[in-house]
Each structure stands twice: as C-alpha cells, then as structure tokens.
Amino acid sequence: MTLSTGHSAALDFAQPEPPDLSSGKYVKLWQGPQHPGITGNMSLELVLDGDTIVSCKTHVGYLHRGFEKLMERRTFIQNFTVVCRIAVPEPTFNEYLYSHAVEEISGIEVPERAIWLRTMNLEMMRLASFLMWIGGQSGAFGQYTVPNWTLAYRDYVLDLFEEMTGARIYHMYIVPGGVRAGLPDGFEERARKIMKGAEKLLDQIERVMFNNVVFKARSKGLGIITPDMVDPYGIVGPNARACGLARDIRKDEPYLAYDRLDFETISGNEPDAYGRAYLRLQETRQSINLIRQCLDHAPTDGPFQADMPNVLHWKVPAGETYVKAECTRGEYGYYMVTDGSEFVRRVHVRGPSYTHAIAVMERLAVGTNIADIAGLMVSLHTYPPEIER
C-alpha cells in the first residue's frame, strides 16, 4: 500500500491537465455521493492509474437548499430554523454567529450570564462534534470499535443538550439578546459526571486508536499540509495548527468568555492525518476542561436574556458586519448586510470546508492510494452543507 501522499509546498494554483482517459491507462471512479467513506453528501470524481489517484475533482450540490436565498425572504427570527441546519453536527456555531451578527448591527448588549452559557454551549458542541469525528476517522481506516464508543458517548452529551435547550440536534438555544433558558436543577452535577466519563473514554481511545499499528501505518504521512500552503489555500483550524501555526480565534481575537478562560492554543508538528487526529484528540480534552471552567464560573442567577421587543417587531437598522468564531474545523463566519427593512439584505456563511474539501482536497488526493482517500477526507474534517449554501 502506498502510504505517503501530497505535494510538498506546491504553490502553483494552476489546474492540472486532465488525464487522457482514451489512452486506456486510467480508470475513472466516483467516490460518493452514496458511499460510506464520504463525509456527507458530496462526491469525488477520481481518475486512477492502478490504485493511485492521478486526478480528483470535488462535486457538491447534493445538499443545496438555498439557505442564503431563503434567509433574504424570511424575517430575522424565522431564519433560526434555517441557520442551524447549515452544519448538522455543529448547529450551535451557526446560531451563535447569526445572533451575534444581529446583535452587533442592532447594538444589543448580552447579559453576563448568557455570555457564559453561550460559551459552555459552544464547547459542549465542540465536544459532541469531535466525538463524532474521532469515530469517523477511526472507521475510515477500518477500526469499527471506536465509532461505536464515541457515537454512543456523544448521545450522553446530547442528553445534556436536551436538558439545557430542550432539543438534541437543532437547539435554537442561542437567540439575539442572550439564550432561551438558564440551566435546569442538577445540571452541573450531571454535566461533571459526563465530562469525567468522556475523559476516561478519550484515554481508552488514545490507547486503542493512536497506538494501533494499522492506524499509525495508514495515517502517518497521509495528506501532508506544509506551513507554506496554509495562507495561499486558506487553511484554518486544526488543519493549520497541526503544521505548527498557533492560530485560534478563541485566543487571538477572544469572543464571549474566552478571554477569561485558562487555556492555550494547541499546535502540533506532524502535519499529516495522524498529527491532525492527535491534535483533535488534545482539543477534545481541552474542550472538556473549558466546559468545567464554564461550570465553575457561570453565574447561577441574573438575567439570561436582554430586554427584547416582540419577535414580530424586531427593527434591525441598516448595517454590515462580519463575525467569526473558532468551530471544530477553524474559522466559521457570518457576513451580514441589513438595509433597515424587516428582512436581511444578504447573509454569507463562511465555512472552513469551502476550501478544505475542494482546493485542498483536490491537491492532496493526487498520489494517494484509493484505499486511503476516505481517511484523507475525514482527516480534513469537511461538512458539505457549508459549501453549498
């Protein structure tokens, strides 16, 4: 099996010449949209020479629901049912950024208690999403024990979400002005118990997955991202941090309560699939630590919602802003333009997958063995709905 892949520091953005399929030397193979080794509803058009990929094209559109267009025709509150569906495993980041953009343009101050509850909510989302991702990465290399553990444990975190927000997946908990509710009785105790269990699980995963010889052999050297690729390709988040760049919006441009939390940006020095996976494991542990800090510091009384008018009478003034947050995959942003009417003029959602799944993936796939393409895709951590609007 071919183990190494990727172009080293290739900064030539020119599109490669398509292989001559009539030569009889190549085989064209579609990976997806219906394939267990694909990250959501997208597909890769691969051209193979033997079992080595010589050309890759990403195709999206299977999930296009016109989110951005829909938002221009619905009132500000109605858009909540749209925004949370843009990244299914991480709806909270969409809710927060949409709310934050509305708040910034309207000049709404969020109460202290809501700031802490939002921070905790986002970190819980990070934990749930990383648990799902670890399972996907492990499964892509043929280890099916870890996905069973992590997806089962993610459900405990979803239980916490259900207690906190009333919903498991699409919470719509963070709304302009604050959050919809405080914490229920006994939540802290149950959350701490689940965090303790999650830590134990991560220790087991480290032993079973990261010390496994097959996982190491297949992931080390796969999909190398060099530091000089990062800015030209717009690479963000763990994919950038794994090659040594200590960039984290939570630390560099703190929002919510992150400037009052004790944590350091984690960066690595192994820019391959293994290094990225290990970095994400460390970030999952960090997320548990941050949730505990939020439980320690979050005020237990006081308002969790600013005084807001009836949702049918929201007046958002004309304005423009770009707000961003560090999601599990890096910079997630909302660009919003309003014109003073009851509808938003324009919302643009900036997701990290836009470049990770297309420009980066098409580059890294070349030279990879067909058996490793699923592992490579998962190691870039991509969600198609962010690309498709």
Binding site: G61, D231, R247, D252, L312, E320, Y335, Y354, A359
Partner: protein, 180 residues
C-alpha cells in the same frame, strides 16, 4: 491602521472608508484597480488570508457589490474591499492566481449571480446546480416561490402556510392574528 489607509489613499482611488468595529474596516474601490489593490494588500500589507468573496445584489441601483474580505493575522485586522459592478453582463478581474480557493468562489458567483471572471478555471462547470436553465438564482429578481409553483406544481393534500401569517395567528388567535 490609519497609516495603512493613508498609504492606500495615496496610491489608489479608495473611498467610502468605514470602520465597522475595532479590527474591521471596509472600503470601496473601482473595478479596474481592485485586483492590483488586493494583490498589494496580500503581498505588502500582510493581508494574507482570504476569508471569502461574496456579492450583494442592489437591484434598485442596478449594481452588484462584490465583497473581498481579507485578514491580517499579525495585526488581527480584517479589511473588506467592496467593488461595484453593473448588474447586466459585467465582468470582473479574476484573482485565482492569488489564492487557491478563489476560483471556487468565482465559480459560485458565476452560477449564482451570472458574473463573469475571464480566465478563472472551471468557471462554467456546474457548482451546486445541475442543468440549471433559469436566471442565476441568487439575483433578487429570481422568485423562489414562483419557481417552485411552476416547476413542482400543486399536489393534492398538501397544505402550506405563509409563516408570518401563521405565527401571528398562533400568537394572537383571539384577535385573528392582529397583534396591535
């Protein structure tokens, strides 16, 4: 930041400078100088990160405003470059040689708004839409509801509400949806 803006004003015809919040500014420039300005910002001013490229349709003024959002990791400053172009049959200089993901954005803008970026790779390949035969759907004049009704028609037993009217009726049922 002021020094940067002064430098830019010396060399480029930038206007409408707007400080949106600490760490974020927008400015407007003519379409002919935009690519040179963006290249200058990337190569000399440290704006090495392209957050995104997008478009706002001002149908009432007959223009599209293209927005290039750039970020400087050292100064932690974000700069939005706005470029107005005509809505009808307009072209914009491609920046696909500056960032690897730029051509993807340009391909999307071509499909969703109909803007042409001569020289941009794979510009006319389908992006999200397959076999689209209508006007580009993100343009304001594209009516999603009329399209749905025409394309998919009415189905017996299917009932839909206008969400805003429905919400008012839910909230104020005794007053027939009148919240006043």
């Amino acid at each position: 930041m002021n020094e940067l803006l002064e430098r830019l004003q010396r060399h480029f015809d930038v206007n409408n400078i707007n400080v949106l919040k600490p760490g974020m500014t927008t400015l407007k420039i003519g379409k002919d100088s935009a690519e040179i300005l963006i290249r200058e910002l990337r190569d000399r001013e440290g704006y090495t990160h392209l957050n995104f490229i997008t478009c706002i349709d001002y149908i009432e003024d007959g223009i599209f405003t293209l927005v290039y959002m750039l970020h400087n990791y050292d100064s932690k400053h974000t700069l939005g470059v706005h470029v107005d172009i005509d809505r009808e049959g307009e072209e914009m200089t491609s920046i696909h040689t500056l960032w690897a993901q730029a051509w993807t954005y340009q391909r999307e803008l071509r499909e969703m708004y109909g803007i042409n970026f001569p020289g941009s790779p794979r510009l006319d390949e389908d992006f999200c839409l397959e076999g689209w035969d209508q006007i580009p759907p993100m343009r304001r004049e594209f009516d999603t509801r009329a399209f749905s009704e025409e394309r998919f028609g009415h189905r017996e037993g299917r009932h839909s509400e206008v969400p805003r009217v429905h919400m008012k009726m839910e909230l104020y049922p005794k007053r027939g949806g009148d919240e006043e």
